[in-house]
Structures are given as structure tokens and as C-alpha cells.
């Protein structure tokens, strides 16, 4: 209960932040492994996307950006504990606020009204200036 109360200001702060912040964090921190588009040197997918494709098959979209089912708690659990070949990430790399922002963006991006719009082309996640 106490932990939930402590997290409440954080959630409020993130909830009021524009979803684009989550996209920015996702692009920098997650997309190089979990983005859509081809992998290196002829690989069909980036490694994280390939791992999720192997894990979920056709049950769930492989590119993380197409997942609207991942809430902040689930993301934080995976980020902090790792899974399979994915290592853990420290707070200095990806803070709780960053994870919450990503969750908010994923939910915003994959909300039913957004899904009716044209999907992105699945461009390669190249390092970008911003």
C-alpha cells in the first residue's frame, strides 16, 4: 500500500507527460533490439524482435512497438530482471519514469482508435541524432 502511494506521484507525473517522451525513450533504449525492420547482415529481424517472435509465434506481434498489452508493472519487471537472453537494466540506464513513459506510449500508440490509422513501415532502427 505504501509502495503504491509512493509511486502515485510518479504515475501522475508520467500520465501528464506527452506520449512522445515514451517514444523517444523507446527509440533510443529499446528499438535497437526490439524495433521493427530487418536485423544486421541479412537477419530478418532485430534480435529482440526475433526472440519475441520465437516466444509468441503468431499469438502476439513481435515488434514491441505494436504491443498495447504491456503495462508499466510488467515492463518494469522484465527490464529489471531480464528474460532469456535479455539482460537486466539499471535505474541509471532506464529510470522508473522512463519505463512508465514507454508503457504510456505503447498504450497510447496501440489504442483501438490509433490502430485504425496507417501502420508505420517498420523502418530499421538506426541510431538517430534525436
Amino acid at each position: 500500500m505504501r509502495r503504491a502511494l509512493l509511486l502515485l506521484p510518479l504515475l501522475l507525473l508520467v500520465a501528464n507527460a506527452p506520449p512522445e517522451r515514451g517514444q523517444e525513450v523507446f527509440t533510443r533504449r529499446c528499438a535497437p533490439c526490439h524495433g521493427a525492420g530487418p536485423g544486421n547482415d541479412g537477419a530478418a529481424m532485430l534480435p529482440g524482435t526475433a526472440a519475441l517472435a520465437a516466444r509468441h509465434g503468431k499469438d502476439l506481434p513481435a515488434p514491441l512497438e505494436q504491443r498495447g498489452d504491456l503495462d508499466e508493472a510488467t515492463l518494469r519487471m522484465i527490464v529489471r530482471n531480464g528474460i532469456g537472453a535479455m539482460p537486466m537494466f539499471r535505474k541509471t540506464e532506464l529510470g522508473d519514469q522512463d519505463i512508465a513513459a514507454i508503457a504510456l506510449w505503447l498504450q497510447h500508440r496501440n489504442r483501438p482508435s490509433a490502430l485504425n490509422q496507417e501502420a508505420p513501415q517498420g523502418k530499421r532502427a538506426r541510431p538517430a541524432p534525436n
Binding site: 533510443r28 535497437p32 533490439c33 530487418p38 536485423g39 544486421n40 547482415d41 541479412g42 537477419a43 532485430l46 534480435p47 529482440g48 526475433a50 529489471r80 530482471n81 531480464g82 532469456g84 537472453a85 539482460p87 537486466m88 537494466f89 539499471r90 535505474k91 541509471t92 540506464e93 523502418k123 530499421r124 538506426r126 541510431p127 538517430a128 541524432p129 534525436n130
Partner: protein, 540 residues
């Protein structure tokens, strides 16, 4: 429950943590089990065993002043520290320390790119800067320089160089520590030292002349424990205008000797970038008969391998060459390289590969258009950081043994045979066989790789991998081959193999360590160097 360093009471540790909170802010001192979970080595071969090295706490400073404060607090309480940069040293311990209970000094918050100069071609960075960050900064500033990055790209130029990691472009830049120029570090007494021209106040040459005057201690910080590096300079390659590739194949197994000799000439005269060796016969390893031949005890005969190659219609070896320059210069260099090799090896064939002006298009970066099966990692070859290499990670990661061997075909054949035989008893894929090619990442040396996977849910497998690693280290050393880098659990074993003169090198460095770090607070055990107070203990 808190893991305490040896000889430190819970009360002392708690007092130190409170002082650290005062120095950096409570938000940046991590001591709960949840917060320390990500400081474990996710690739640990001893995961969840008593041998696992786990942090007692972590602290994340924002600047050099806070690093100094941390060091002084640690010295006051004799608590070991373990600095990490971006903490991505997977296969080599990751963010976890040598000594259980150490306080990890997480430098990720110190993430400024302090300078990029594209007239004199250098950069100066803090340890928390990743290769992604530096690449982005180069792009933002439209600087006409390239970085040389390893795989994966989330590592730190500072951290990777201090591990003596390597990359993929031109020789002088592939050696990341060799390409460094100028270090700033916090010493165990809390003072800040600068090496090279940085020791001369007002010098503008800190990132151009690394030696300064007198003995150069820069090497003590690489795989060492003489301070916490807070800034590091790097030489950068001027951005080339054109990139060109080509492949040379040779028909017979023994042709590899002459091939390596000629490629050495090209590399040492700065004509080529990373030469990527491979054996087309590796494609036959899925056939039981060829697998048995290539992994036969004592190694197969040249005649048997040549017969197999002939029957398959495949050359025995290939090397891919890479050129950086202008369209005209790279074309001339390729012509020269091709002529040099083909004139020396009967039956050698050359095939021009892709070439294009730089910067590369997205399609060219994807490396899908070579007219032959290419082993080049295109992102690395173009100095573009990525995480694509993670596709090779199996299970919960791997450990790494990358023995250094002479840059000759004969040495390659010997390592194939010796380590192939030595590891035969272990139920692992054949890392060393008659088709194992050398890696040519370091500027003047070859390496081969032994990187078995680890599984957190299979302690028996991990124990087997551990035995295999220790046997590989020992057998390699018997033949003059040593590892270039090791995880904390293997650093003592590797250090022990560098035992010339009854381990005089280690004893010399221990003497310096005891003088500069009398309390042994900076990364005790790193590089196999233990401070006096730990040396009485056994370190296996």
C-alpha cells in the same frame, strides 16, 4: 539481505552508505535487493551459486567531485569499490564486482561528450557515454570523423577501451585502448590525475600526444585497479569518402599460410581495414562425415581436407578485404591487394565485392547485396553502433575465452588442433576445428574464440562450462596462448598464466598497487591484482 565485503561489519557498511547518500543524494545510492538485481552479471556461469560475485550496494555519481567524495568515503571505511561505465561488459562480468559486497560505482550518469574535433580528429568523453551516444553526437555536430565501435554498441568507449576491447575499422582504431589518448582518473587517495599532455596545465595536445613526459601510467588503468577513470580521449578516423570490399579465396588448406602472410603486409602497411577470414568448408559442418573429419583427434591431414574441399567444389579459405578512402584510392588498393595475393598463391581467386560512396544508405548498411557469402559485420565496418550482434546470444548468455595467437597460418592450425583435442571431452559445439578461422580484431595479433553458453536453470551445465573454460585457459597457456580479457571469476586463472619470471610482472604491479592503494579499495582483484589485505586469501 545485504552482502557485505569481507571484513566489513554491517554497521560500518551502513555508516558508509549514509555518507554516500550525503555525497550524491539518496536517489543515487542503491542498496535494496530490487535495486541491486540489475547489478548482477546476467551472463554469470556461477549464477545463484556461492561463487557468484554480487554487489553490496551501488552508487551513481554525477560528476568528478562526487567520484572523489565516494573514494574518500570508501577509504575512510576500507570498503572496496568497483567502477563501471555503462555496465555492459557481458561475458566478462557485466556490472558485477570482483569482490562480493563491493560498492559498484555506476558512472552511467557521467554521460557528457566533452569534445569532438574533426580538424585534429579526436573526442573526449565521460565514462557513461555509450557508443550510441558518441555516434549521435558526431552526427549532431556534423563532424567529419568516424568512431570505431565494438558489438554491441551500448557499451562505453571508456569502459571498452579500459577492457582493451576491439572493433572493426582500420587497425589503429580497432585497438580501442591503443586509440585512446589522455586519461583523467580519481586516484585511491581522492586526487585527480591526468596522463600524457593532460599533466601539463593549459596543454592543447591532451588528445594528440598520449605519452607526455616520463613514465606513462595510462596502461595501469586498463584491466587495472589504480583509479576510477572520469574522462578519456580517443583518436578518431577522418570520415572516408568511399568504402570498398573484395574477397580472395584459396584452394588448398596449406595456402592459408601464404594468404595470412600477404594480408599481414597489407594490414601493416595500412592498405586494408579488418581482414575477415573464413572457411567456405564451414558450410559442410552439418554433414556427419565432414564434421568427423574436421574435428578428428590430432587434426585432419592437409590431404584429407584438400580432398574434401575438392569433392565439394569449394575453396579451403577465404579472406574479405575492406578499403577506406576515395573511389580511386580504394580501387587502386584493391587492385594492389588482389595482385599481391594472386601472384603468390596458385589457384587463388579474387572477386570484387560491394563498393559505395559514404555515408552509406540504409540498404547498404543492411549488407544484403554482396555477390558472395560475406562474414563482414557491416555496421561495425562502417562505425555504426548497433545491437544486431545479440542474435548470437543463446540461453542466458555466454562466457568468453579469446586466446591471443601469432598472426600466422601455422599458429592457427596448431590452435585448431590443440584446443580442439583439449575440449573434445566436453558436450559442447566444436569451437576449434579444422575450419576455425582466426579473428583479426587486434591490430597485430590473431585471436580465436571459445564462448559456450550459460543457463541459469542448469547448474550442471554451467559447472561443465566452467571446467571447460579452466581447461582451455590452462592448455592454451601451455602452448603460449593467453587470454586477452576475462570475467572476474576467471581473472586469477588467466593472470596466473602470465607467469614469466615467477610471476614477476604481477608482483611488480602488486607492489605499485600496495603503494598507490594501500587500503585496496579500488576494484580489488581486477586483472588478477589483489591488494595486500586480500592476498592471503585463495582466489580460484
Amino acid at each position: 539481505m545485504a552482502i557485505l565485503p569481507p571484513g566489513i561489519s554491517a554497521a560500518t557498511f551502513a555508516t558508509a552508505l549514509e555518507a554516500l547518500r550525503g555525497a550524491v543524494g539518496a536517489d543515487w545510492v542503491f542498496s535494496s535487493d530490487d535495486d541491486l538485481g540489475p547489478y548482477r552479471d546476467s551472463f554469470s556461469p556461477v549464477w545463484d551459486t556461492p561463487a557468484e560475485r554480487r554487489a553490496g550496494a551501488a552508487v551513481a555519481p554525477a560528476d568528478v567531485g562526487q567520484v572523489q567524495a565516494i573514494v574518500r568515503i570508501a577509504a575512510q571505511h576500507a570498503i572496496p569499490l568497483f567502477p563501471i561505465s555503462t555496465g555492459k561488459n557481458f561475458g566478462y562480468g557485466g556490472p558485477s564486482p570482483n569482490v562480493p559486497g563491493s560498492i559498484v560505482v555506476d558512472l552511467k550518469r557521467m554521460d557528457r561528450v566533452l569534445d569532438i574535433d574533426d580538424r585534429r580528429h579526436f573526442a573526449l568523453v565521460e565514462p557513461g557515454v555509450s557508443y550510441f551516444d558518441l555516434y549521435r553526437a558526431v552526427q549532431e555536430r556534423h563532424a567529419r570523423v568516424w568512431i570505431d565501435c565494438p558489438d554491441p554498441g551500448w557499451g562505453s568507449p571508456v569502459g571498452n577501451a579500459l577492457e582493451r576491447g576491439v572493433g572493426y575499422t582500420m587497425g589503429p582504431f580497432r585497438d580501442h585502448f591503443g586509440a585512446s589518448c589522455g586519461i583523467e582518473a580519481v586516484l585511491p587517495n581522492g586526487e585527480v590525475v591526468r596522463t600524457g599532455m593532460g599533466a601539463l596545465p593549459g596543454s592543447g595536445s591532451w588528445q594528440e600526444y598520449r605519452h607526455g613526459f616520463g613514465p606513462d601510467p595510462a596502461g595501469l588503468f586498463a584491466q587495472g585497479n589504480f583509479g576510477i577513470v572520469t574522462k578519456m580521449g580517443f583518436r578518431l578516423m577522418p570520415a572516408p569518402a568511399h568504402y570498398r570490399t573484395g574477397r580472395i579465396t584459396v584452394p588448398r588448406r596449406r595456402d592459408f599460410v601464404a594468404l595470412v602472410d600477404k594480408v599481414n603486409v597489407l594490414s601493416d602497411s595500412f592498405t586494408i581495414g579488418e581482414a575477415v577470414y573464413g572457411s567456405p568448408l564451414a558450410a559442410l559442418m552439418g554433414r556427419p562425415d565432414f564434421l568427423a573429419l574436421a574435428t578428428s583427434a590430432g587434426g585432419p591431414s592437409d590431404a584429407a581436407m584438400d580432398s574434401a574441399a575438392s569433392a565439394a567444389g569449394l575453396p579451403s579459405w577465404q579472406v574479405e578485404l575492406q578499403f577506406y578512402g576515395t573511389e580511386a584510392t580504394t580501387a587502386a588498393q584493391w587492385d594492389h591487394a588482389r595482385d599481391l595475393i594472386l601472384s603468390a598463391i596458385p589457384g587463388a581467386l579474387a572477386q570484387a565485392g560491394e563498393h559505395f560512396p559514404l555515408p552509406a544508405t540504409e540498404e547498404q548498411v543492411l549488407n544484403r547485396s554482396q555477390p558472395y557469402h560475406s562474414l563482414i559485420r557491416r555496421n561495425g565496418a562502417l562505425g555504426i553502433p548497433s545491437l544486431g550482434i545479440w542474435k548470437i546470444v543463446r540461453d542466458n548468455g555466454h562466457v568468453g575465452f579469446f586466446p591471443v595467437l601469432p598472426r600466422s597460418g601455422e599458429a592457427c592450425f596448431a590452435m585448431q588442433r590443440v584446443l580442439g583435442d583439449a575440449l573434445r571431452e566436453f558436450p559442447l559445439p566444436p569451437y576449434f576445428s579444422a575450419v576455425t578461422a582466426p579473428l583479426y580484431w587486434h591490430t597485430h595479433a590473431f585471436q580465436m574464440v571459445f564462448a559456450p553458453s550459460v543457463r541459469r536453470d542448469d547448474p550442471a551445465h554451467n559447472a561443465m562450462v566452467d571446467r571447460a573454460m579452466r581447461k582451455a585457459i590452462a592448455v592454451a597457456a601451455e602452448h603460449g596462448w593467453g587470454d586477452y580479457r576475462a570475467a572476474p571469476v576467471y581473472q586469477d586463472a588467466v593472470s596466473a598464466t602470465y607467469g614469466f619470471g615467477d610471476h614477476v610482472l604481477r608482483r611488480m604491479i602488486e607492489t605499485m598497487k600496495d603503494s598507490i592503494d594501500p587500503q585496496g579499495i579500488i576494484a580489488p582483484g581486477r586483472g588478477g591484482i589483489w591488494p595486500r589485505r586480500y592476498r592471503q586469501q585463495e582466489h580460484a
